[in-house]
C-alpha cells in the first residue's frame, strides 16, 4: 500500500484478569482479510485453540468492523461478531447495524478480541482509546432496552438480554433496536458474565482520498435512491413486502415447512403492515435505503417485524395475526432472542405435539400462550429450557429428525428451499448453518425477486450459489449492508415487471449460464473494472482505503472469506456430512406442491464442491488455499490428516 491509510487497531481484552492491550493488525492480514467476518474468522485461528468448548473461558469472541463502517458510504453501519457457533459448533458470524460499530471506530478501535471469563457481571467501556471494566450488577437481569437506557444516550451500545444471561442457544445482542441475532453469540457473552460493550469517542474515521470518496458516495446514494428495489420497494414495504411474493411462488414456509402457500398470508404481508400499522419508515444510521418499519405498540413506537419474523411467527405456525407478530418481535428483541431460530424451534415443538412425540403446550394455530412461552424460554424455566437449546437438540431427544428444519443445527430462515433449490443448496453449504445471507440469498434470483431462474430446476444453481455467496461475503466484510447489493439486478427488469417476456427470458437464459459463471469464478480478475451496476462497494472501498480493488478482486476477497470460514468449520470437526438438509426438504414433496418439489441436494453438492475447489468432504484443497494466499493455514489440513 502506498497510501497513508492506517492499519486497523484491535484490542485484546482478557476478562479473567481484567487487562487489555492494543493489537495492531499485521499488514498481511489486513491486505488479505480486510476486516469484518473475514478478519474475525482469521483471528479466531490465532487466538482460540481448536475444539474449545463454546462456554469455556478460553472461547474467544471477536467484535469488529470493516474499513467502510461509519465512514459515510451508504448502508455502512454494520459491525460484526465472530465466535464459535453455539448451535452448530462451527463458525459464528453475526452482523448488526446499530450505532455501536461507528462509535467503536470513533473511540479509536476497529475491533475487540474478547477472551477469558469474568467472575462477576461486568461490561466494557471503550472511551477514547481506553478500555475500562465496569461492574454490571445493576444491569444484570435487565432486558436489552432497560439496560441500554441505563447508560448515557450518545454511547454506542451492544447488550445481551436475559436470554443471553441464561445461555439460551440462540440468544443475540442488541445495539439500539438492531439485533445481532443469529448463531447464539449472546449466550457466549452470558457465559463470560459480560453484559455488553459501550463505546464512545470523537476520533475521525480515516479515509484515504476524502474528496473522491465523498463524490463517489453522492453518486452511489443517488443510484440507490433511483433503483426500484432500494429506492422504492424496500423503503415502502421493507423486507416484509416479500411475504405476498413468496406466497404466490409457493415459497412461503407454512406449518413447519410442510407446504409453501398460506391462504391468509396477505394478513401478515408488508402491504397490510404498510397500510394499517406503519407509522413511518426508519433506517440504521448512515443508510439511505430505509427499510426499517416503525410501528406503534401500546403508545410506544417500536421496530416492526422483518420478512423472516412475519413468515415464521405467522404462516409457519399456522397464524396470521399481524399484531401478535409485532408484539412477539418486540418481546424477542428486548429479551435478546433471535426471532428466526426461536420461531422455528417453537414451530418444530408444535409439530412434535401433532406427531405425539412431546408436548410443550404449543399448538399450530394457537396464539394466546406464545408470549408467555418466549418469556419462559428466555428465563430457561422448566421444560422450556429445552426449547432454548434449538431444534437439533430437541430432535435428538424426542425424535422427529426428518422434520427438524435446520442445517448444521441452525434453523432455516423463511425461504422455502423446495421452491428455490439454489437457496436450499445455500442453506446446506452455508458455513454458519441454515442462514439465508451466508447461504447466498439465492431466493432473491429464484422465487422472491423480480428475476426467476427456474426455481425448481438445479441447472446452473451451484455456480450461481458460489458466486452469490462470495459476493455477499465480500459486501458484508467491508462493513456494508447486504441490501445495498440488491442493485445488481438491473432496474429495467423491475420496470418491466416479473411477467414481462424479457424478464422471463432472462430468467430462462440465466438457468444455462452455469459455465459462464464458473469461468468468472475461476478467473475473477477478468472483472478488472468497477461499475455501479455490479459492485459499487469495490470502488468505494478503493477510494476509502487507497488499496487497489476491482470487482474481480472484491469477489476474490469474498471467496477467501468463505474459505477461511469453512476452514474453521473443518478445524472444529464439521465435515461434508453436515452439508445437508432435513429429509422433509430433500425427500418429501411439498404439500399441494407437485412432483418436482424436492431439493436435489445430492446432485448439486458435488458440482458445488468442484466449483469451489473443495474435495468430496467439503474441505478446501491445498491448491485452493494456496491460490487464495492462505498457505499459512495449511497446518489445519495437516492436523485433519493426522486425526484421520
Amino acid at each position: 500500500m502506498k497510501t497513508n491509510y492506517p492499519l486497523p487497531l484491535y484490542a485484546i481484552v482478557n476478562l479473567t484478569d481484567k487487562t487489555w492491550e492494543p493489537y495492531p493488525i499485521p499488514k498481511d492480514f489486513f491486505k488479505k482479510f480486510v476486516g469484518g467476518k473475514s478478519l474475525g474468522s482469521r483471528l479466531l485461528f490465532e487466538f482460540m485453540p481448536s475444539h474449545t468448548d463454546v462456554f469455556d473461558p478460553a472461547s474467544v469472541v471477536v467484535v469488529n468492523t470493516g474499513p467502510l463502517t461509519g465512514s459515510g458510504a451508504p448502508s455502512t453501519s454494520r459491525f460484526n461478531l465472530c465466535a464459535k457457533n453455539v448451535l452448530t459448533g462451527g463458525i459464528a458470524t453475526s452482523n448488526c447495524g446499530g450505532t455501536f460499530g461507528m462509535m467503536l471506530r470513533r473511540a479509536g478501535f476497529d475491533g475487540v478480541i474478547i477472551m477469558g471469563a469474568s467472575d462477576a457481571p461486568c461490561y466494557l467501556e471503550i472511551l477514547d482509546g481506553e478500555i475500562a471494566f465496569r461492574d454490571a450488577a445493576e444491569l444484570w437481569g435487565k432486558d436489552t432496552e432497560a439496560a441500554q437506557e441505563h447508560l448515557p444516550k450518545p454511547y454506542g451500545k451492544l447488550m445481551i438480554g436475559p436470554a443471553g444471561e441464561n445461555k439460551v442457544s440462540y440468544a443475540g445482542l442488541a445495539s439500539g433496536e438492531r439485533m445481532a441475532g443469529r448463531c447464539g453469540i449472546g449466550a457466549i457473552f452470558g457465559s463470560k458474565k459480560l453484559k455488553g460493550l459501550v463505546a464512545y469517542g470523537t476520533k475521525e474515521i480515516p479515509v484515504a482520498q476524502p474528496e473522491r470518496f465523498y463524490a463517489y458516495n453522492k453518486k452511489w446514494i443517488r443510484f440507490l435512491q433511483n433503483h426500484s428495489m432500494t429506492g422504492d420497494a424496500l423503503p415502502r414495504y421493507g423486507s416484509a413486502g416479500l411475504v405476498n411474493k413468496a406466497n404466490s411462488m409457493n415459497a412461503l414456509p407454512t406449518k413447519n415447512f410442510e407446504s409453501g402457500h398460506y391462504d391468509a398470508a396477505d394478513k401478515v404481508s408488508g402491504e397490510t403492515l404498510a397500510e394499517t400499522r406503519l407509522t413511518r419508515n426508519g433506517s440504521c444510521v448512515s443508510c439511505p435505503i430505509r427499510c426499517e418499519r416503525r410501528v406503534r405498540l401500546e403508545n410506544k413506537e417500536v421496530k416492526g417485524p422483518e420478512y423472516e419474523t412475519l413468515g415464521l411467527f405467522g404462516p409457519n405456525m399456522g397464524l396470521h395475526d399481524i399484531d401478535l407478530v409485532i408484539r412477539l418481535n418486540y418481546v424477542c428483541d428486548i429479551l435478546g432472542i433471535d426471532t428466526i431460530s426461536c420461531a422455528s424451534t417453537i414451530a418444530f415443538a408444535m409439530e412434535l405435539y401433532e406427531k405425539g412425540l412431546a408436548d410443550f403446550g404449543v399448538r399450530f394455530g394457537k396464539a394466546d400462550n406464545l408470549e408467555e412461552v418466549i418469556y419462559k424460554i428466555a428465563n430457561a424455566e422448566g421444560i422450556y429450557a429445552e426449547l432454548g437449546k434449538g431444534s437439533k437438540w430437541l430432535s435428538r431427544k424426542y425424535g422427529g429428525e426428518d422434520f427438524a428444519i435446520h442445517a448444521k443445527g441452525m434453523e432455516l430462515a423463511a425461504y422455502e428451499p423446495r421452491r428455490s433449490v439454489g437457496m436450499g443448496l445455500g442453506y446446506a453449504t452455508s458455513n454458519r448453518g441454515g442462514c439465508h445471507l451466508n447461504g447466498g440469498y439465492g431466493a432473491l434470483v429464484e422465487s422472491i425477486g423480480v428475476l426467476s431462474i427456474r426455481p425448481t430446476k438445479r441447472w446452473a444453481k451451484p455456480d450461481w450459489v458460489v458466486f452469490l455467496q462470495n459476493a455477499l461475503d465480500a459486501i458484508s466484510l467491508v462493513g456494508c449492508c447486504l441490501f445495498s447489493g440488491q442493485t445488481f439486478i438491473p432496474n429495467i427488469l423491475f420496470k418491466l415487471g416479473p411477467n414481462h417476456i424479457i424478464t422471463r427470458s432472462i430468467g430462462f437464459i440465466a438457468s444455462f449460464t452455469g459455465p459462464v459463471i464458473r469461468l468468472l469464478l475461476k478467473f475473477p480478475l477478468v472483472l478488472q473494472f468497477n461499475t455501479f451496476f455490479l459492485m459499487p462497494h469495490a470502488e468505494s472501498f478503493h477510494r476509502c482505503t487507497g488499496m487497489h480493488m476491482t470487482t474481480g478482486d472484491f469477489i476474490r476477497t469474498g471467496e477467501r472469506c468463505y474459505n477461511v470460514e469453512r476452514l474453521f468449520n473443518v478445524r472444529e470437526g464439521l465435515t461434508g456430512k453436515q452439508d445437508a438438509l432435513p429429509k422433509r426438504l430433500t425427500k418429501d414433496f411439498q404439500k399441494y406442491g407437485g412432483h418436482d418439489t424436492t431439493v436435489p441436494i445430492d446432485k448439486m453438492l458435488p458440482i458445488y464442491y468442484r466449483a469451489r475447489g473443495w474435495d468430496k468432504n467439503g474441505c478446501p484443497t491445498r491448491r485452493t488455499l494456496k491460490k487464495l494466499g492462505m498457505s499459512d493455514l495449511l497446518y489445519v489440513l495437516d492436523e485433519q490428516e493426522e486425526v484421520a
Binding site: A73, G201, T202, I221, G282, S283, V285, C287
Partner: protein, 152 residues
C-alpha cells in the same frame, strides 16, 4: 491540541452542560478539566463561559457570544438522503428526521427540529456524508443590521 480551562474557572458547570461530546468533567464549585483526547475544538464551551476561563488550542481566549447569535446548521434538504448520521451524532436531539407528509411518504429529510437546544458545535456538519450542512449565524434583527452597516 485542544481547549483548556484556566484557574479562573468558578465551577459553574455551564461548559460541561454545553459540551457536545461530554469531554468536560469536574465538580460544581471546582475547576473543571477538558479531556484533550475527546475535545473536538468546536469552541462551544468558550463562547458560553461566563468567566472567560477557557483557552483555545492556541492559548487565546475566544470572546463570549450571546447564545442567540450562535451558529445553527442549515440543511440543503432537497438532496438529503435521510441517512440519520447527523441525527444520531447530535447529543442534544436538536436534529430529527421529518415526519412523513402523507401516508406512505418515503421521502423524509433531516431538519433542525429543536433549534433552542442546538449549541452550534458543527458535529452534524462534519459527519454529513453528502456535505449538505452548513453552519450559519442566525440573521441579525433589522436594527442590529442597520447599526452594523452604519459602523462600516
Amino acid at each position: 491540541m485542544a481547549y483548556s480551562i484556566s484557574e479562573t474557572c468558578s465551577g459553574c458547570t455551564a461548559c460541561a452542560r454545553l459540551c457536545p461530546v461530554m469531554a468536560i468533567s469536574g465538580e460544581r464549585g471546582r475547576v473543571h478539566t477538558i479531556n484533550p483526547k475527546r475535545c473536538v475544538e468546536c469552541g462551544v464551551c468558550a463562547r458560553g463561559c461566563p468567566k472567560s476561563a477557557i483557552r483555545d488550542a492556541r492559548g487565546a481566549i475566544p470572546p463570549r457570544i450571546p447564545r442567540k447569535e450562535w451558529p445553527k446548521p442549515a440543511i440543503r434538504t432537497e438532496d438529503c438522503s435521510a441517512c440519520r448520521m447527523c441525527v444520531d451524532i447530535c447529543p442534544f436531539d436538536a436534529l430529527a428526521l421529518t415526519l412523513p407528509q402523507f401516508k406512505g411518504d418515503i421521502r423524509v429529510h433531516a431538519a433542525l427540529s429543536n433549534p433552542a437546544k442546538c449549541v452550534g458545535c458543527a458535529q452534524c456538519m462534519k459527519i454529513c456524508p453528502l456535505r449538505l450542512i452548513e453552519m450559519q449565524s442566525p440573521a441579525l434583527p433589522p436594527e442590529a443590521k442597520a447599526t452594523a452597516e452604519a459602523a462600516k
